[in-house]
Amino acid sequence: MQQAKNLLEAQDLTKIFEIRKGFSSKAFHAVDKANFSLASNTPEIFSIAGESGSGKSTLAKMILGMESSSLGKLSYKGRLIDSLSNREKRAWFFSEVQPVFQDPFAAFSPLKRIDHYLYETAANYKVVKRSEADDYINAVLNEVGLSLAEVKGRYPNELSGGQAQRVAIARALLTKPSLIVADEPVSMLDASLRMSIVNMFRKLKEENGVTIIYITHDLATAYYSADRIAIMLRGWIVEMGPVEKVLGEPLHPYTQNLKDSIPQADPDKSWDKSANLAEMEADEYTRKGCRFAGRCPAVMDKCRQQEPPNVQHLGRAVKCFLYETTN
């Protein structure tokens, strides 16, 4: 097979959910025409950020092959993820792409010892010989700051949240993946533990060459760790580019709004109270025109009529009429 240029590529990727209620059903686009790609030769941390209900988790599930796409294409190393059979997923795809979930305690069965998953993973992907499994698992645990002795024979509830999340990351690393999809990996952890996990992602990218998709609602850790970021709003990617640019000087009114809303632990940066806060609308997914029009401070007439275009501006992609003319 020829080497594909891109590790992961999404073209007009769309996921439509139908909400059934008795006999009526309503379709909404949880992910709507997402376009992005991750290069295979340069590992990076690609952050997908947005509020709850922005579709970022759905996107993560599609990348992991847990949800199929409704429209568009999503390919990993040149192969369409949707077209993979379960057998192919086990034989190839899962050894390449691994997840880290939000709640480390939910990610392991409370009735199973946590090392069970490590041994399963090592055995099923045949990364090492059975006799070397202990050493290998120990080595990988060392990479995340743990050791097999600390973990072996323990149930998830006997570990702290930070430890359990490290085990989850170690399990993902066992297959020597090229891509890790981490869905809100630090949101259940205390602030003091978050940095150690995020730092680990940085280290994995630099030392192991793993590309990481870091999905979060926490822009501060995204800014701290990511190389590129995509801001999602109601299924749309509204702004995407290098993180210093997108979060350094956000262009899309939504990104600005999001960034301004983060309370910072700095007494010199507390908010002035004049900010005008528009109420979020319930049906932004289905509204006509721009989905942010209802609460955008810079809203124009056409925003309510048609979908805004994707434009390149100041080194990033923005989906907004404001930057249309400069193109």
Partner: protein, 334 residues
């Protein structure tokens, strides 16, 4: 002159449980003394499991077994009236709660009765303390919601018809409708999206300013504290380790734990490497001896593992409990 409104003295509150034949004592609040002044916003911060929610329950006088106040007292002082919050009678609760002391629960979705219209819930709460009729309650509610800039139409809604952020704002309105002097808020913005969270914080700020009421705010998010609190107390493993004005805590923290906590926060100014705190918070049924932070503290000296550090007054209004600061205090004094 600023009066004290709540004062906790040498407070010890433990969970004493006996299940399946095993007795367990969790020292969730262990020897904490704080004084909160009228009109200030006092923030309590700390990691999960540090005892901040337990402390709030005790300050509020709302706890039942297995949580027990082992030692110490909490006194409320309102205009010449003094009450021990840990020993409130049912009558006291009816007199004090909502009229003088109120509570904003965690940004939870289930605080409002799911089968009652918002206005009826308001009426329930108002009439308990004011004996109002339904129309009177409705009128008060309407006026208050208008005051706070909340849409009046929510009155006729059921909770499930409101968004999460609106529910939390309605809850705040419900908690403050009788203009209490003292408001306890337990993680009022957790689980809300940042944009919504901002609105909730501003609402809380407005209410506090308008009535010059006192707010005791609990959250693990120092960013929220920075925007709301006047003073911050840092809790670690059931102990108060440092207390100072918000600016002092955030700019010049003295306790090693506080320093770690502040330094581990990412900011938008720089992307230089930051470190998390090594190790994990201790279990509170068997806390470490001496200073409870010593197993995780890179600066720990021998004394830390044996002797509990005393609370030191570093400067007026700035207290911290750490052996390393003893010299600094002596130096300043000498």
């Amino acid at each position: 002159m600023v009066d004290t409104i709540v004062k906790a003295e040498a407070l010890k509150a433990y969970y004493i449980t006996k299940a399946y034949g095993v007795e367990r004592t969790v020292k969730a609040v262990d020897d904490i003394s704080i004084e909160i002044k009228t009109g200030e916003v006092y923030g309590l911060a700390g990691e999960s499991g540090c005892g901040k929610s337990t402390l709030l329950k005790v300050l509020l006088g709302d706890f039942q077994p297995p949580l027990t106040v082992v030692e110490g007292s909490v006194s409320y002082q309102f205009e010449g009236m003094s009450k021990d919050a840990t020993k409130l009678s049912e009558q006291d609760k009816r007199d004090i709660r909502w009229n003088k002391v109120s509570y904003i629960p965690q940004g939870s979705m289930h605080v409002l009765n799911p089968v009652r219209r918002i206005q009826d819930t308001f009426h329930d709460f108002i009439t308990t303390h004011k004996g109002t009729t339904k129309p009177q309650s409705f009128e008060m509610t309407q006026a208050y919601l208008r005051d706070l800039g909340l849409p009046e139409k929510v009155m006729r809604s059921y909770p499930h018809q409101l968004s999460g952020g609106m529910k939390q704002r309605v809850t705040i309105a419900l908690a403050t409708i009788l203009y209490p002097k003292l408001i306890f808020a337990d993680e009022p913005t957790t689980a809300l999206d940042v944009v919504v969270q901002r609105g909730v914080i501003q609402l809380l700020k407005d209410i506090q300013k308008k009535e010059n009421s006192t707010v005791v705010l609990i959250t693990h998010d120092l960013g929220v504290h920075a925007n709301l609190a006047d003073r911050i107390g840092i809790l670690y493993a059931g102990k108060l380790v440092e207390e100072a004005s918000t600016r002092t805590i955030l700019k010049t923290p003295k306790h090693p734990y506080t320093q770690f906590l502040i330094n581990s926060l990412p900011s938008f100014d720089e992307r230089s490497a930051k470190e998390g705190i090594p190790g994990r918070p201790p279990a509170l049924d068997h806390p470490p001896s001496g200073c409870r932070f010593h197993p995780r503290c890179p600066l720990a000296i021998e004394k830390c593992s044996t002797v509990e550090p005393p609370m030191l007054e570093l400067a007026p209004g700035h207290r911290a409990a750490c052996h390393l600061l003893t010299d600094e205090v002596n130096h300043a004094a000498g």
